[in-house]
């Protein structure tokens, strides 16, 4: 029977014939031949791969691969054909991939819809929030902070967009206008026109509008200055101190302090100091116009996003 030889082999494994240190030997359990052929096949595969794909660097360039090109549309809208590479593949995928096409269809839907339609469609809102979040991070976060609200240390440098106070109006259309035109948030400095005493009186009046602890006698004098010629504050802030939207003047009667960090000041004294500093130095905040930098569609998405951050009007 042929299995005799097999039995012998099973019972007595041969050695390779080498011996080290006198008695150290190596068994020879032969590898299946197909195994070694598979190994050679992987070598052949790599050779073919080297020919087709970009692989070896040489001089100041590299082998580009033979007969393997990729075509995509560059930023200028021109069709570019180049040797196959993963970077171009990514660009191509971002343009023609399945998910890219889905996103494109959704974008078109949002772009074609009115604000009213978007705001009443939870699906479009969720989509816009996602796309605009990226736009916001790229363009707006540098000043307004990544979440549209600045940390305490940067309080007042730029408006907080996460609350419900809107200097220039809080409807989507108004926010869109702000984005398109940019804004100059200007309040003159009163350090030279008002005396230290007058400053104190006005500050007491402003504090009394929304908080307790102001000196009653000074409040009355401060109101005089605020609504009179001496200060002239009412021209922008109005006699009710609720602020003129067209000037971007703050509503001083609500609980929100946009520039002077009154909420964080521990004592009435400190609150007055914070208010006086703003009156003394004035405000000069500028937001650039975005109409030339962002497309109309991008501005639209951002308007929706900002509107929703704090719960717009």
């Amino acid at each position: 029977m042929s299995d005799k030889t097999q039995e012998q082999q099973n019972n007595a494994v041969q050695t390779t014939g080498h011996a080290w240190d006198g008695d150290l030997q190596e068994f020879n359990n032969p590898l299946p031949r197909w195994w070694i052929w598979t190994f050679y096949a992987t070598i052949v595969f790599s050779l073919i791969y080297w020919l087709i794909f970009p692989t070896w660097p040489y001089a100041n360039t590299y082998t580009k691969g033979i007969g393997n090109t990729i075509t995509f549309e560059n930023e200028q809208g021109e069709e570019v054909t180049t040797h196959w590479n993963t970077r171009s593949l990514l660009i191509e995928e971002m343009q023609t991939g399945e998910e890219a096409l889905k996103q494109k269809a959704y974008l078109e839907k949002v772009n074609a819809a009115s604000y009213e339609e978007i705001l009443s469609d939870p699906d479009m809102m969720a989509f816009t929030n996602s796309t605009a979040k990226v736009l916001f991070a790229d363009n707006c976060a540098a000043c307004h902070g990544p979440a549209a609200a600045l940390p305490g240390s940067a309080f007042g440098l730029y408006p907080n967009l996460a609350d419900d106070a809107w200097l220039w109006g809080g409807t989507v259309e108004e926010i869109e206008q702000t984005l398109i035109l940019g804004r100059n948030g200007y309040m003159p400095a009163f350090g030279t026109t008002l005396s230290e005493e007058q400053l104190d009186e006005v500050a007491n009046y402003v504090l009394s509008l929304s908080m307790e602890g102001a000196d009653a006698s000074k409040v009355a004098a401060g109101k005089e200055i605020f609504n009179g010629q001496a200060g002239g504050c009412h021209y922008c802030h109005t006699k009710e101190a609720t602020g003129l939207k067209s000037q971007g003047a703050a509503n001083l009667t609500d609980a929100i302090w946009t520039v002077a960090n009154v909420t964080a000041a521990p004592t009435t004294e400190a609150k007055l100091v914070a208010i006086k500093q703003v009156i003394r130095d004035g405000i000069n905040r500028v937001m650039p116009a975005w109409s030339g930098r962002l497309s109309d569609d991008e501005i639209k998405q951002l308007a929706i996003y900002v509107h929703q951050r704090g719960g717009g009007k």
Binding site: N10, N11, A19, P32, W35, T263
Partner: protein, 472 residues
């Protein structure tokens, strides 16, 4: 360094062709039954229909694009990925458990390599004849008979392989549509690619490589030996009874005669070797190549029956029993331990699957800023609700908050949400609340999503936290 050159044995070895002889018997019958069942399930399951209120009407469908797996009445979502972990644990422990008790049962009876090789060997036998005829055919020079028989064999192999590959693809799409698209050239590339790949691998693995897969490729056959112990069932040859083996010669016909002559029961007919699909001789003891298919038991039993001798010269036994000890103990600490672990996993998985949430609601609080002061002095916290409607029907929801007296929930224009079946949605919510104390603090509350169009569903609830700053 001394060099002792033995006869030059090559470093690489060609595969020795194996021509398994067919055999009839208990284990062969069990194996045919398992094979029939497995093939029946594998090839017919994609065609089974299933009524669903939403989704395709295929009983088992792995919808990759839709990110949903349909398994009869169950729909598996990506969130249920933990079931996969549970299932894999179950499979692993079941393997340890079964292997600990009965050795390589999976290899011998259930492994697709074994099942498909069985079918390929069957095709080979039907076309070319029994083992001697196949050996003769292999040895004879190429002529029209050989070309025809080999050609038909390989053609049938390719057909089985193609059916196998195509059936696999049908699990990933609607079977009737997919098969029509497949043959009209309109199926996706992945369908053709997968079919081609699986046709090729099935043909190569079951037709050409066969036992090489088990011996050289499969890691499982290697680490299984770690699960064996002295009581594990193994297929083995009773050498005490069988040796010294001798053919049924003159004066060695009857058992008494043989025993008197000091000859064992093994008549060295070689049937056990001829039926072995991995080409080993079980009489050499437990070997790495043995897949425990038990065909050698059937072979030897056939011979023993024909001689009128008692069965069991080759049989399932354990190492302990083979050494003259007691039969295999079933209740060993290891087996009981594996069984208990199995029970725990099955119970946990069953509980989890049967308590599948029909509606996912997750609430993520905006952390930057955590809270904002509003113009009326209230504090606002913002949240993102993520919802996923898995109820299979449309869902209308209203939201309310409890545990935060006097707080206002602001969902923009969405006082009422409608979710289509399988719709996922994110929603931003603002909660406006008068801070209850002057000190900075937080309070737990509960968000409730109330299904207004379904009376059979309870409100879905989620805990959340409202935070406020200190005031001065």
């Amino acid at each position: 360094m001394s060099q002792q050159q033995t006869d030059q044995q090559p470093l690489y070895e060609a595969r020795r062709s194996i021509y398994p002889r067919s055999v009839k018997g208990r284990f062969r019958n069990i194996k045919w039954a398992i094979l029939t069942l497995a093939y029946g399930v594998y090839f017919l399951l994609p065609w089974m229909r299933w009524e669903r209120s939403a989704g395709p009407d295929q009983a088992v469908l792995f919808d990759l694009a839709g990110r949903k797996f349909y398994l009869f009445g169950l729909t598996v979502y990506p969130q249920d990925i933990f079931w996969l972990a549970g299932f894999l644990m179950l499979a692993a422990y079941l393997l340890f458990f079964v292997t600990g008790i009965a050795g390589r049962v999976f290899c011998g009876y259930f492994c697709f390599q074994t099942l498909w090789t069985d079918v390929f060997v069957l095709v080979e036998r039907l076309v070319q004849g029994e083992r001697p005829a196949r050996i003769r055919l292999a040895k004879q020079p190429l002529n029209s008979e050989k070309a025809l028989k080999l050609g038909v064999t390989h053609l049938l192999w390719l057909l089985v392989a193609f059916a196998t590959g195509l059936s696999f693809v049908l699990y990933w799409g609607n079977a009737p549509d997919l098969i029509r698209d497949f043959f009209t050239g309109q199926a996706p590339f992945a369908a053709y690619g997968t079919t081609l790949f699986l046709t090729a691998t099935t043909y190569v693995m079951a037709g050409l490589a066969r036992e090489q897969v088990c011996t050289y490729m499969c890691p499982y056959s290697r680490f299984q030996s770690a699960m064996f112990d002295k009581d594990t069932l193994i297929v083995s040859y009773d050498s005490k009874r069988g040796e010294g083996r001798a053919k049924l010669g003159k004066g060695l016909k009857g058992r008494e005669e043989r025993q008197a002559a000091g000859v064992g029961d093994c008549i060295d007919c070689g049937y056990c070797v001829q039926v072995c699909p991995t080409g080993i001789d079980i009489r050499n003891g437990l070997q790495i190549q043995c897949i425990s298919c038990a065909l050698c038991i059937d072979a030897c039993d056939t011979i023993m029956d024909s001689l009128g001798w008692e069965r069991g010269l080759v049989a399932y036994t354990s190492e302990r029993q083979a050494e003259g000890g007691k039969p295999a103990r079933l209740f060993r600490p290891k087996v009981v331990g594996y069984f208990l672990v199995l029970l725990v996993i099955v119970a946990a998985l069953a509980w989890n699957v049967s308590h599948q949430q029909l509606f996912d609601l997750s609430v993520a609080q905006e952390r930057q800023p955590l809270h904002v002061t509003l113009s009326d002095g209230r504090i606002q916290n913002s949240y993102e609700f993520k919802m996923n409607n898995k109820t299979g029907g449309p869902l209308e929801l209203e939201f309310e908050i409890t545990g935060l007296e006097g707080a206002e929930l602001d969902l923009g224009k969405f006082s009422h949400i409608e979710l289509a079946p399988d719709q996922r949605l994110r929603l931003r919510a603002h909660i406006k609340h008068e801070p209850p104390t002057g000190e900075a603090g937080s309070q737990k509350f509960r968000i409730r999503a109330i299904p207004t169009n379904r009376t059979d569903l309870e409100a879905f609830e989620k805990d959340a936290v409202f935070s406020w700053p200190g005031s001065h």
